[in-house]
């Protein structure tokens, strides 16, 4: 009943008091947390930056201009683009069903969405081999029609998409559930068609959840290695993605090139995620002010 905000939220420490011990404990906790994050996260990130700088500008230039590296980046971009497009569209459709529909088995579908979280990427690759390999369920039939899935782009997109399935759905469903259907119903009573309602009411509500889902799926697609390694055959200059290039470079003891490509991949993913996060924060702030 008082205008004063609760102490725990406003002041630095939840409780006042001149206790020296409390200050010491607080300092120790902060130091421990920073040390943990520092050793675990920052030091390795510093390590790779240091290594690339150490390797020198020449290595950076020669690596990034090598044809197979360029091809690898291009392939990663293509796979990421296709996977993000597919999982975003299907993710929204699935999220709408999960949030708005009800039928027997809906909860099972809901649980199935999380399965990719429980599967090792290696296992995902193996599953694709079991389906599309020369002795797999569909492999022989498809091969008879001249369609090659394994060791080619389709299987690489499929396994990456499998892994990216939950991201958009898990970002969008809570927003749909929290926002309810009143606005959509209001739009329907005003004569809007289902598509118009979706386009003008639902999509704007989902904008930031979608952006975040897209960023997460993109980061995951860029970084995927285990599944792609198994299904692609990692054929240099053909089915080798950027992460597969790093893997090969590490195996072949070409660390310089591996470090350069790794740093590029990390930079792109980090920029993607922090960029979306920053945009969302700014958006939230603008809305608070308005």
């Amino acid at each position: 009943m008082n205008a004063a905000p609760p102490a725990g939220r406003l002041s630095a420490a939840p409780f006042p008091g001149p206790s020296v011990r409390a200050t010491v404990v607080r300092g120790l906790l902060i130091a421990a947390a920073l040390a943990y994050v520092g050793v675990l996260l920052l030091a390795p990130m510093g390590g790779i930056v240091f290594s690339v700088v150490h390797a020198g500008w020449d290595v950076v230039v020669s690596t990034l201009s090598a044809p197979d590296v360029v091809h690898a980046f291009l392939l990663t971009a293509i796979i990421t683009g296709l996977v993000v497009a597919a999982t975003t569209v299907m993710g929204v459709v699935t999220a709408l069903t999960l949030a708005r529909d009800s039928f027997p088995g809906l909860r099972l579908v809901d649980a199935l969405i999380d399965l990719p979280f429980a599967l090792s990427p290696v296992v995902v690759g193996l599953m694709a081999v079991l389906l599309f390999g020369s002795t797999g369920w569909f492999g022989p039939t498809l091969a008879a029609h001249g369609i090659h899935v394994l060791f080619a782009l389709p299987s690489m997109v499929l396994v990456t998409a499998f892994i990216a399935v939950p991201f958009t759905i898990r970002e969008v469903v809570p927003v749909l559930e929290a926002s309810g259907t009143e606005e959509e119903e209001a739009a329907r009573t005003l004569g809007a068609s289902a598509w118009q309602v979706f386009r003008h009411i639902t999509v704007p509500k989902l904008r930031w959840a979608l952006a975040y889902g897209i960023a997460l799926s993109a980061a995951r697609s860029i970084g995927e290695v285990g599944a792609v390694l198994i299904v692609s055959g990692a054929i240099q200059g053909r089915t080798e993605t950027a992460t597969l290039f790093v893997y090969r470079a590490m195996e072949n003891r070409q660390p310089g090139a591996a470090y350069v490509v790794s740093l590029c991949l990390a930079a792109v993913s980090v920029l993607l995620l922090t960029g979306i996060e920053a945009l969302r924060r700014r958006h939230d702030r603008i809305r608070e002010v308005a």
Partner: protein, 281 residues
């Protein structure tokens, strides 16, 4: 109100909405083809011959050790993550540090950084060619190509899980409960253990279980750091990768199904823990 209602119903009658049934079929087809079918293939391949494939797979030298290494390292990583994740969440929520926003963003980076790159980073930092690695080597500490490196890689990859599940719970805690304990004479340590921690426990458990499940399956971060020496640093996912490379699909599928089953149980338990926490509030 009533008029709007009948108007809406009339509109529905005029244009029967085909959206939901169609959408339902699409979703069922999507989930069926993308998720159910591959998992079915996996389980079928692994257990078509009963437990023979699994027995064969485990008979290879280093197979049992790989499973042991995977499960123990995942358990240790989950425990470390639970403790330090809670600590980091506490510091982020309760203390007004300069640079708090930067720290909060850092926590999310493992979601963005490719896992393989995580492994490469650890090699650049602790590998034999780095100054730090050479120095540690002289002290008799080896990180790369040892279980320590595996543990560090997994801790890196799973750092956000506990922090991100605990932070919102900490933010929503009613400070009055802690104040009540304080007024009754409780020490800060007791308040944390008896008043705060019980509220955090489901979130910490959920975060740690997710970290465990993720650690079991992690490949990219581990494969370059571990060295993959059978019986020493070979983990189960890398073992599955090797089996696949040797076209021993049935054995690979059997081990995969085993890992999958464990992860699945863990994730279902997690959902249960979260739901129970939701009811308790």
């Amino acid at each position: 109100m009533a008029q709007a209602d009948t108007g809406y119903r009339a509109a529905q009658l005029r244009r029967p909405d085909l959206g939901p049934p169609l959408r339902r079929l699409t979703v069922l087809a999507y989930v069926g083809a993308m998720i159910v079918l591959p998992v079915a293939a996996l389980v079928h391949e692994g257990f078509a011959a009963g437990l023979t494939s699994l027995r064969n797979a485990l008979a290879y030298p280093g197979a049992i050790a790989a499973l042991e290494l995977t499960f123990t390292s995942a358990a240790i990583v989950a425990a470390v993550g639970a403790v330090f994740g809670t600590l980091v969440a506490w510091v982020l929520v309760r203390y007004r540090l300069p640079g708090r926003a930067v720290l909060a963003t850092l926590i999310d980076l493992p979601f963005a950084i490719p896992t393989l790159v995580t492994g490469v980073m650890l090699v650049t930092l602790y590998g034999p060619s780095s100054p730090l690695g050479a120095w540690l080597d002289r002290l008799g500490i080896q990180v790369v190509f040892t279980p320590i490196g595996i543990g560090m890689a997994l801790c890196f990859v799973t750092l956000p899980f506990v922090v991100r599940t605990v932070m919102p719970v900490l933010q929503d805690l009613d400070p009055a409960e802690e104040e009540a304990a304080r007024v009754l004479g409780a020490s800060p340590a007791r308040i944390f253990l008896q008043v705060v921690l019980p509220h955090l426990r489901p979130a910490v458990t959920a975060g740690a279980l997710l970290a465990f499940a993720r650690s079991i399956g992690e490949f990219g971060a581990v494969v370059v750091v571990a060295g993959n020496i059978a019986g020493h640093t070979l983990t189960a996912p890398v073992y599955i990768f090797q089996l696949t490379g040797q076209f021993r699909f049935a054995e690979a599928a059997a081990v995969s199904a085993l890992l999958f089953l464990v992860s699945l149980c863990v994730i279902l338990t997690t959902n249960h823990a979260v739901a129970r926490w939701g009811n308790r509030r």
